[in-house]
C-alpha cells in the first residue's frame, strides 16, 4: 500500500514537472489555444451533430427496456440463471412471493464493477468470480420490486415479486 502511494506521488510529481498543472494558459506560448474563425456551415454542422449525438446517446442508454424473465420452478425453488456480461441478462426477474428464490449469476465480464452483486433488501452481497456461476438464495415475503446492483451501483436489475 505504501509502495503504491509513493508510486502515485512520484507519478503526479512527474506530471506536475510540466509546470502548473492547472495552467496550460496563454502565458505559455507553446500550448496556447488561438481563436480560429470557423465558417458558418461548419458551426451549424457541429451544433447539429452534437445535438444528434446527445440525443442518440441519451436515448441509447436511458431508453433501454428491461429484459424480463419469469423464474422456473424446480423442487419448490424458483430458479433463474443471470448472465453477467456488460450488465445483467435478464435484468427483470419475476418471482412469486413466499417461495424460495435461487439466483445463479454467471459472470463472464472482467469489469471490476461487476465483481460483486448486492441485493440490499435481502441483506445479500456476493462476490462473483470470473467464469464461475455463483448462486444466492432468499425468500421474499412481501410483494414489490427489489433492485439488485453491482458493487458500485452502476449496473442494476429488478426482482419483481408478485402475489401467487
Amino acid at each position: 500500500m505504501k509502495v503504491a502511494a509513493v508510486l502515485v506521488g512520484t507519478m503526479i510529481s512527474i506530471a506536475q514537472m510540466g509546470g502548473d498543472p492547472m495552467k496550460m494558459s496563454p502565458s505559455n506560448p507553446n500550448r496556447s489555444f488561438q481563436p480560429i474563425e470557423q465558417p458558418l456551415p461548419v458551426k451549424v454542422g457541429v451544433v447539429l451533430g452534437g445535438l444528434t449525438l446527445v440525443g442518440a446517446e441519451l436515448w441509447w442508454f436511458l431508453g433501454r427496456k428491461q429484459q424480463k424473465q419469469q423464474a422456473t420452478q424446480t423442487n419448490g425453488v424458483q430458479e433463474v440463471l443471470i448472465t453477467v456480461d456488460g450488465g445483467y441478462r435478464p435484468d427483470r426477474i419475476v418471482v412469486v412471493v413466499d417461495e424460495p428464490v435461487r439466483l445463479a449469476f454467471r459472470r463472464l465480464d472482467r469489469n471490476a464493477c461487476l465483481d460483486e452483486v448486492l441485493i440490499p433488501d435481502f441483506g445479500i452481497s456476493s462476490r462473483l468470480p470470473i467464469g464461475q456461476t455463483t448462486t444466492v438464495e432468499f425468500t421474499p415475503n412481501q410483494v414489490g420490486e427489489y433492485t439488485f446492483t453491482c458493487g458500485m451501483r452502476m449496473f442494476r436489475g429488478v426482482i419483481e415479486v408478485k402475489a401467487t
Binding site: 500500500m1 503504491a4 508510486l7 502515485v8 507519478m11 512527474i14 506530471a15 514537472m17 509546470g19 498543472p21 492547472m22 495552467k23 496550460m24 494558459s25 505559455n28 506560448p29 507553446n30 500550448r31 489555444f33 488561438q34 481563436p35 480560429i36 474563425e37 470557423q38 458551426k43 457541429v46 451544433v47 452534437g50 445535438l51 449525438l53 446517446e57 441519451l58 442508454f61 433501454r64 456480461d85 456488460g86 450488465g87 441478462r89 435461487r102 445463479a104 454467471r106 465480464d109 469489469n111 471490476a112 464493477c113 440490499p120 433488501d121 441483506g123 445479500i124 452481497s125 468470480p129 464461475q132 456461476t133 448462486t135 458493487g151 458500485m152 451501483r153 452502476m154 449496473f155 442494476r156
Partner: protein, 754 residues
C-alpha cells in the same frame, strides 16, 4: 459406495448437462450421476471396486468438457477462488507497472511543450512516432479492460465509468494519432500540431492504479468478518466409544462430549458437564475479564479456555452456534441499505449518460466560441475523465461495512444500517432496571448477627452451623431470593456437605421452615416472625436503613431464638454508573423503567445518577411508556433491556438495544444487541453511530465535491477568466483518487476511538 463431486467447465446450455449425465451413467460402476447446470457441478455415486475417479473424470473429458474433482473439504475450493483472485491481482499489478514506466517516459517526452529543453539523449522521446509506439501498448494492452468492458456495457445499453475512461482516452489517442500522421492538416488551419499521448497513458495508468489500490482497501473494509470467522477452532476433541479422538469441527454432533484443555479454543457451543476453568470470551463479548465456568454453565464456541480442563456437551453446532449467528448477522447488516444511501443510489443510474451529454456540449460550446478544435477536444476529454460516479456509489456502503464490523469487534451487533443511522439521533434513553442496570441476580449484601447487637443473647448458633442450616433449608426452596442465600451459604461454609432437611415447608409471601440437624429453623419476613411471636425488633433501625437502600431483609431464627438479619439485593453492575454519566454528558436524557416498587427503584436510580424514574410499571405498560415519550415529548427514544421480557418495548422504541447474555445474539426484537451485557456498550454504540454517520457525510461531501467542482473546471469554465484549464492527465489522477479517498476515509473509521 462412494460419492464424488466434480466441478465442470464448458457447459453452455441445459442439453450439455444431459449429455454429461449420460456419459457419467455409461461408466460401469457409476450408480448415480447428477449434473447441476447453474452451479457447474456434478455429483456422482460410484462403486470403488468397479471404477475410480480417473475413469469418471475421463468420461467427462472425452465428450469435450473439463472436470475437476472437488475435495470433500469445501475450504479448499475457496482457496482456489482466492488463487484466481490473486492471479488477477498480480496481472493488474504487472499492467500498472508497465503503464507507469511507459507513462513516465511519455511525460518526460512532453516536457518540451512547457518550454523545457531535454538533454539530447532524451530528445528522441519528443518524436510523435516514438510516443505513439510507447502509448499503443498502454492504450491497447494495459487499458484493454476499459474498452472491453465499455463495449460490452454499450451493447447492453448501459454505461459506467469504463465508458467514460474508454471514451476519454480513445478520443485523446485517436486525435493524437491524426496529428501524428497528418500534422500539416492542423498547422494550415492555425492549430498546433500537438499530441496528447502522455495524457492518454497517464489516465489509463492512474485509473488502473486507483482500481488496484481500491481493491486492496476494499478487502480491508470487511476484515471484521474474516477475523470473526477466523476465530473458529479447526478441530474438536470428543469422546467416542470411551476414547478421546480429534475430529474436524464440522463432524461434531449434537450431544457429543467435548474435551477442552488449558489454552485451547472451545470448538462449539455447549454446557459444562465436568471440570472447572476460566474462559476468555473477549473475542465475542468485548468483556476483558475471563469468566469462570463450572458444571451447568454455558460455554461459547471460539472463546479461549485459560486455566483448567473441562468437558462439555455440545448443544449448538454448525450454523446454529453463537459465532455463526454473529457472522450471519454482521454480514446481513453490512449489506443492508442505510436510508442516506438512497440519495447516492438514484444519482448513479443516469450519471454517466448525463456526463457524456455534458462532454459533447462542452465540445460544441468551445467550438462555437473560439473555433479551436484542439481546445474543444481537451475540454471534452477532461469532462469525461474527471467525472467519478464510483466515489458516489462507494460513499455509504464502505463506511457502513467498516462501522458495523467495528461494532462487532466490540461486542455490539447492529442488525441493520438503518439502526446505525438512527442511533445518532437518540434523545432519550430508557433503561430497564433489572438485568440492565443491575446484574439481574439477587445476592446477599449484608448480614448481621443478633450477637452484634445483644452480645449475651441465648441460643445463638456458631456462624458455620447457622449458615449450613440456612443453605440446607434454602436448597429446597425455589424462591428467587433462595438462590442468593444458598450461594452465600456455600461460600461461607466452603462448599461443605449440606445436611438434609426434614419437614420442609414454604409459606408463600412469608418464608420457609424445616428441621435441620434436629433443630427447627425459620427464614422469613418480619411480619411472619411477628405472627409467630419471635421478637425481631432489635433489627428495626437496621432493617429500615437497608430497605431505604433498596434491599430486601429477611430474618433467621433457630428453635425460637432470633439469629440474624440478612439483606439481599440485586447489585448494580460495576460499569453502570460510569456509562450512565457518560450518556448524560453526551446530552441524552436517561430514564429508568422498572416493575419494581418506588422505594427500591429510587435507591438504585440514586446510586447510578438517574433523575427520572418510572417505577411500578407492569411489563405490558412498558410499551405505552415508550409511546408516551415518543408522542407527547416528541423524542427519539432508545430502549435498553433484556431481549425476552422487554421485547415489545424494544420493538416500540426507535432503537431497541438488547442486553445479551453472551449467546442469545439472534434476539429478534432488538435493532442492536450488546453481547457483553455491559451498559458501556450503549455508549459505544451511539458513539459508533455518530462516527459512522459523520464518515458517510464526509464521503458524500467529497464525492459530490469532486464532481461538482471538477466537471466545470474540466469543461473550461475558468479558462476565459483566469486562463485555467485542467490537464486531462490531472483529471485522470483526480478521478482515480476520488474512489480511493472515499475508501481510505471509510477505513479511517477503524482507528477512530469510540
Amino acid at each position: 459406495m462412494e460419492d464424488l463431486n466434480l466441478k465442470l467447465k464448458g457447459m453452455s446450455c441445459a442439453s450439455c448437462a444431459n449429455s454429461i449425465e449420460r456419459a457419467l451413467l455409461n461408466v460401469p460402476g457409476v450408480v448415480e450421476g447428477n449434473v447441476n447446470f447453474s452451479s457447474d457441478r456434478a455429483t456422482v455415486r460410484y462403486d470403488p471396486k468397479q471404477t475410480n475417479i480417473n475413469i469418471i473424470t475421463k468420461a467427462v473429458v472425452d465428450i469435450g468438457y473439463e472436470a475437476q474433482v472437488i475435495p470433500a473439504d469445501l475450504g479448499i475450493e475457496d482457496d482456489a477462488g482466492n488463487r484466481a483472485q490473486q492471479l488477477e491481482e498480480r496481472n493488474l499489478q504487472r499492467r500498472v507497472l508497465v503503464g507507469a514506466v511507459l507513462s513516465s517516459l511519455l511525460v518526460i517526452g512532453s516536457l518540451s511543450h512547457f518550454s523545457l529543453t531535454l538533454p539530447s539523449s532524451l530528445a528522441g522521446l519528443e518524436n510523435p512516432w516514438v510516443q505513439l509506439a510507447l502509448t499503443s501498448p498502454v492504450q491497447f494492452w494495459v487499458g484493454r479492460e476499459f474498452q472491453q468492458s465499455a463495449w460490452k456495457a454499450f451493447r447492453h445499453r448501459t454505461a459506467d465509468m469504463n465508458t467514460l475512461i474508454a471514451l476519454g482516452t480513445s478520443i485523446a489517442f485517436f486525435y493524437s494519432l491524426w496529428v501524428t500522421i497528418d500534422p500539416s492538416y492542423f498547422t494550415t488551419q492555425g492549430l498546433l500540431a500537438e499530441v496528447y499521448y502522455e495524457a492518454t497513458a497517464t489516465i489509463i495508468t492512474l485509473t488502473l492504479l486507483g482500481r488496484w489500490l481500491e481493491n486492496r482497501a476494499k478487502g480491508a473494509t470487511s476484515t471484521a468478518i474474516t477475523a470473526l470467522m477466523g476465530l473458529q477452532a479447526k478441530t474438536a476433541r470428543v469422546i467416542r466409544d470411551n476414547a478421546e479422538i480429534d475430529i474436524p469441527i464440522a463432524e461434531v454432533a449434537l450431544a457429543d462430549i467435548v474435551m477442552v484443555r488449558p489454552g485451547e479454543k472451545i470448538p462449539v457451543d455447549g454446557e459444562v458437564v465436568s471440570g472447572y476453568s476460566t474462559v476468555d470470551e473477549s473475542m465475542l463479548t468485548g468483556e476483558s475479564f475471563p469468566v469462570t465456568k463450572q458444571i451447568g454453565d454455558e460455554v461459547v464456541g471460539a472463546t479461549l479456555n485459560k486455566t483448567g480442563s473441562f468437558r462439555f456437551r455440545a448443544t449448538k453446532i454448525g450454523k446454529d452456534t453463537a459465532l455463526a449467528q454473529i457472522v450471519k448477522l454482521v454480514q446481513q447488516a453490512q449489506n443492508s441499505k442505510a436510508p442516506i444511501q438512497r440519495l447516492a443510489d438514484n444519482i448513479t443510474s443516469w450519471f454517466v449518460p448525463v456526463i457524456i451529454a455534458i462532454a459533447i456540449t462542452t465540445f460544441v460550446v468551445w467550438f462555437l466560441a473560439i473555433g479551436n478544435f484542439t481546445l474543444s477536444i481537451v475540454t471534452t476529454v477532461g469532462v469525461l475523465i474527471i467525472a467519478c460516479p464510483c466515489a458516489l456509489g462507494l460513499a455509504t456502503p464502505t463506511s457502513v461495512t467498516v462501522g458495523i464490523g467495528k461494532g462487532a469487534e466490540q461486542g455490539i451487533l447492529i442488525k441493520a444500517a438503518e439502526s446505525l443511522e438512527l442511533a445518532r439521533k437518540i434523545q432519550t434513553i430508557v433503561l430497564d432496571k433489572t438485568g440492565t442496570i443491575t446484574q439481574g441476580k439477587p445476592v446477599v449484601t449484608d448480614t448481621s448477627s443478633v450477637l452484634d447487637l445483644i452480645p449475651s443473647s441465648p441460643g445463638v448458633l456458631d456462624p458455620l452451623t447457622l449458615w449450613r442450616s440456612i443453605g440446607a433449608l434454602e436448597s429446597n426452596s425455589e424462591h428467587p431470593l433462595a438462590e442468593a442465600l444458598l450461594q452465600y451459604a456455600r461460600d461461607r461454609t466452603k462448599d461443605a456437605q449440606l445436611p438434609t432437611v426434614e419437614q420442609f415447608e414454604a409459606i408463600a409471601g412469608s418464608g420457609v421452615k424445616g428441621i435441620v440437624e434436629g433443630r427447627q429453623v425459620w427464614i422469613g419476613t418480619q411480619r411472619w416472625f411477628d405472627e409467630m411471636n419471635i421478637n425481631s425488633s432489635v433489627f428495626l433501625a437496621q432493617k429500615s436503613e437497608l430497605e431505604d437502600a433498596g434491599k430486601t431483609v429477611v430474618f433467621v431464627a433457630v428453635e425460637g431464638h432470633l439469629q440474624a438479619a440478612i439483606a439481599v439485593a440485586d447489585t448494580v453492575k460495576s460499569t453502570s454508573a460510569r456509562a450512565i454519566r457518560t450518556l448524560q454528558k453526551m446530552g441524552l436524557e436517561v430514564v429508568m423503567l422498572t416493575g419494581d416498587n418506588q422505594r427500591t427503584a429510587k435507591a438504585i436510580a440514586e446510586r447510578v445518577g438517574i433523575k427520572r424514574v418510572l417505577a411500578e410499571v407492569r411489563p405490558d405498560q412498558k410499551v405505552q411508556m415508550i409511546q408516551t415519550l415518543q408522542i407527547d415529548e416528541k423524542k427519539v427514544v432508545a430502549m435498553v433491556g433484556d431481549g425476552i421480557n422487554d421485547a415489545p418495548a424494544l420493538a416500540q422504541a426507535d432503537v431497541g438495544m438488547a442486553i445479551g447474555t453472551g449467546t442469545d445474539v439472534a434476539i429478534a426484537a432488538s435493532d442492536i444487541t450488546l453481547i457483553s451485557g455491559d451498559l458501556q456498550g450503549v455508549v459505544t454504540a451511539i458513539r459508533l453511530s455518530r462516527a459512522t454517520m459523520q464518515n458517510i457525510q464526509q464521503n458524500l461531501f467529497w464525492a459530490f465535491a469532486y464532481n461538482v467542482l471538477g466537471i466545470p473546471i474540466a469543461a473550461g469554465v475558468l479558462f476565459p477568466i483566469t486562463g485555467w484549464l485542467l490537464n486531462p492527465a490531472i483529471a485522470g489522477a483526480a478521478m482515480a483518487f476520488s474512489s480511493i479517498s472515499v475508501v481510505l476515509n471509510a477505513l479511517r473509521l477503524k482507528g477512530v476511538k469510540i
